[in-house]
């Protein structure tokens, strides 16, 4: 397993934490906080997938 795969795994964990915090904020009707954390989650997950996916392009 390469260091990049480890970083990708950590980014997925970060995304999960961000999604959990975002969902929790959404449940408390704190929409701005929720939006912020959901964006963090989406961007982290995107970075993880881009880092780990196979293919030369």
């Amino acid at each position: 397993m390469h260091a990049f795969d480890v970083v990708a795994g950590l980014l997925v964990v970060l995304a999960v934490v961000a999604f959990a915090v975002g969902s929790s904020a959404l449940a408390r009707a704190e929409d701005i906080h929720a939006l912020y954390w959901l964006v963090v989650g989406v961007v982290s997950m995107r970075a993880a997938v881009q880092l780990a996916r196979p293919g030369a392009a």
Partner: protein, 250 residues
């Protein structure tokens, strides 16, 4: 002429690589249907039998339904013909009797929507496991091609299940958030967001697992950094924005 020792080793290799559903097929139809049957019984029959005002007979019949599910497992091993009918008809008929004896438990005001949906899923899974179980292992005499079983061209590296399992576990963890919302619309929105996030996490875990296999098209370090640069830049911007908002709020 084929080498017999080679044929045996091929056969052993194929059998060792048998999948979950093939191994599941060995345990029998009634045993496969027991778990969803127990779930359906626990969600829809037991609450009716033990509801306020239901007669003792309903409780006895509910227990008989549970017993028929469990009894079907050894019965199927001894007499394969009778295992499935005992499991299916035993549970279905006793459940119908219980609901007939305690009709008040089925009133719309007494049934929670979540429990209703869970019960539907439980009965659906029970029907699926009973009617279309995993196929039992084929015997050697059922093979129509002479010679040893074909060797697979390649092997799937081990460890993928751990990645997918970890992703699924995190996705399930996300579903535990936000169940105490009073407003129905917001509760629905929270569930929708949590579900979408869970699916995304499973997808990302699958991508990472698949990324380990493509050796011939494994990207170089530079390619990886270049194509993930935009996402990292976005992450940096979002983090900086969050920090700025935090400092401005103090």
């Amino acid at each position: 002429m084929a080498d017999p020792s080679r044929s045996n080793s091929d056969e052993r290799e194929v059998r060792a690589g048998r999948g979950l559903f093939e191994r599941l097929g060995d345990i029998g139809t009634a045993a496969q249907a027991t778990i969803p049957g127990l779930y359906a019984w626990a969600v829809t029959v037991a609450p009716a039998a033990w509801s306020r005002g239901s007669p003792l007979l309903a409780k006895v019949i509910a227990c008989a339904g549970l017993a028929s599910l469990i009894l079907a497992i050894p019965l199927e091993r001894r007499w394969p013909r009778y295992g499935r009918p005992v499991s299916v008809w035993g549970l279905v008929s006793t459940s119908a009797f219980v609901w007939a004896l305690a009709p008040a438990a089925l009133l719309p005001t007494r049934i929670d929507a979540g429990r209703g949906v869970a019960g539907m899923i439980g009965w659906g899974l029970f029907a699926l496991a009973s009617a279309a179980p995993a196929l039992p292992r084929d015997g050697d005499d059922s093979r129509i091609v002479d010679g040893a079983p074909l060797r697979p061209r390649g092997k799937i590296p081990r460890g993928d299940a751990w990645f997918i399992g970890a992703g699924a576990l995190m996705a399930i963890g996300l579903q535990t958030v936000g169940w105490n919302v009073a407003v129905p619309e917001r509760a629905l929105l929270v569930r929708l967001v949590a579900l979408a996030a869970g699916l995304g996490v499973i997808g990302a875990a699958t991508q990472i697992a698949l990324g380990r296999h493509g050796r011939r098209i494994r990207p170089t370090r530079r390619v990886r950094v270049r194509r993930s640069m935009a996402a990292f830049l976005g992450l940096f911007v979002v983090a900086a924005l969050g920090l700025a908002l935090l400092l401005a709020g103090r």
